[in-house]
Amino acid sequence: MIRGMIAIFRRELAGYFATPVAFVFIVIFLLLTGIFTFYVGAFFEQGQADLKPFFMFHPWLYLLLMPAIAMRLWAEERKTGSIELLLTLPIRLSAVVLGKFLAAWTFTAIALALTFPVWITVSYLGRPDQGVIVAGYLGSLLMAGGYLAICACLSATTHNQVIAFVLGVIVCLLFTVSGTPIVLDIITPWAPQALVETIASFSFLARFGSIVDGVIDLRDIVYFASLIIFWLYANAVVVEWRKAG
């Protein structure tokens, strides 16, 4: 089973690099992180040696980039009919779901790792708390996993990658902003307290924010991990349920 999963993982990861799209994507990712960090985030003016302005924009970047990475995972298989081939190979559906997700996550990790010049710059300019930076990177990767799991599941609902992308952006947006004042101000006046707290607790922004501040709360990690597991499970259910159509 593991061997089958690794085969799926490798095929999927190689698939990202089979076209120039992967390189274009990585360049866009690096450009955007650069622009956000140094211009919008006023990295130099801040006069502080840390990577907060860099990490702060990750949720917003991921909001658009993760749906783009995950949209092809299932929609393309559906469109070309290769899903029929894939799902008649002797491998459990859970292994296929996991292999595909891990490939997308690894691709993201590679893109994220290529931002290391930012880290080097800040280390050269000052004496940042390296522990906080490591936490920031791990938190960012974990959050990216959350976005990817959501988008992988949504990719399985359609054979149209554009629809998969749009759905992904919408649902990711909901998860990103659910804890911000924009949303809370709207629902607080009428919704019961418990509901407001539940919705607020879904927020990627708040949880990621505290990780970037160097506060590693086990609950935040458990939140992202269970979110990933939930959406991957939903992914398998959707594939099983929508196979015929």
Partner: protein, 255 residues
């Protein structure tokens, strides 16, 4: 023990019944041909046998493994060429076959031998390193065929295996099917009636999700018998038309 055993298969899509109570069994050494008009339910039946679709009702077992209870065990023993021979367009045939070999867990010498044999049998040599989406229709079909026979499965399910092949390749694929027939249970679907005569040892005529007739070759004279109908060699088309449009003819007579 029959290699493929299907009992009272029913498949509904919403309110539409695509497969309506099909039962049959296929033994080792048999090449069973599915014949039937477009939309008869041939491909749907194959998708259920291979475990891609779960039937609304009914049971399928492959080599003794129930496809609902032990899907992975059943799938291990099946080679499947889906309708239209889908594959991963950006891969080359070699990469694609390597991928399938990986998922199927083939290893070392056994793997190399099986890969070489499948490539040779499907005649893929000249296009091994060319991306699949740049291949001609016939070569794409051959890639699908190579993938299906790669692990030397006990059961082969081939959905229109010779569709889009040139006459030489049609001949080669039919010869290949006959060569493999002795040790396997093979099911093919086709719209070419002479193909049934060329390779099949049994045939089912399916329409509107039901088996209308079962046919076997006549022992000495050649030709085929479907129930009370009998066809001289090369004349299966008349029987096919009579059986699949039978109701209309009766109506015409009545009118």
């Amino acid at each position: 023990m029959a290699m493929i055993e299907i009992k009272q298969l029913i498949m509904r899509f919403g309110t539409f019944t695509a497969v309506d109570g099909i039962s049959f069994a296929v033994e080792r050494g048999t090449v069973l041909g599915f014949l039937g008009p477009n939309g008869a339910g041939k491909s749907t039946t194959m998708k259920i046998i291979t475990g891609f679709l779960a039937p609304t009702m009914g049971q399928v077992s492959v080599c003794g493994f129930d496809t609902a209870m032990a899907p992975v065990e059943a799938k291990r023993r099946i080679g499947y060429l889906p309708e239209g021979a889908p594959a991963y367009a950006e891969m080359t045939p070699r990469e694609f076959l390597n991928f399938v070999a990986d998922v199927r867990g083939l290893r070392r010498d056994d793997r190399r031998r099986k890969l070489d044999l499948a490539i040779e049998r499907a005649g893929l040599g000249p296009v091994l390193e060319q991306p699949i989406d740049t291949l001609s229709k016939g070569f794409k079909r051959r890639v699908g065929l190579a993938q299906a026979i790669l692990h030397d499965p006990d059961v082969l399910i081939l959905d229109e295996p010779t569709d889009g092949l040139d006459p030489n390749q049609k001949f080669a694929v039919r010869a290949l099917i006959k060569e493999m027939a002795a040790t396997k249970a093979i099911v093919i679907s086709t719209h070419i009636l002479e193909e049934v005569e060329a390779v099949c040892t049994r045939s089912l005529i399916i329409a509107r999700g039901r088996v209308l007739a079962e046919g076997t070759p006549l022992p000495d004279a050649g030709g085929w018998r479907f129930g009370e109908h009998q066809a001289a060699p090369g004349r299966l088309d008349a029987i096919f038309r009579r059986i699949t449009t039978g109701e209309n003819q009766h109506q015409e007579i009545a009118a």
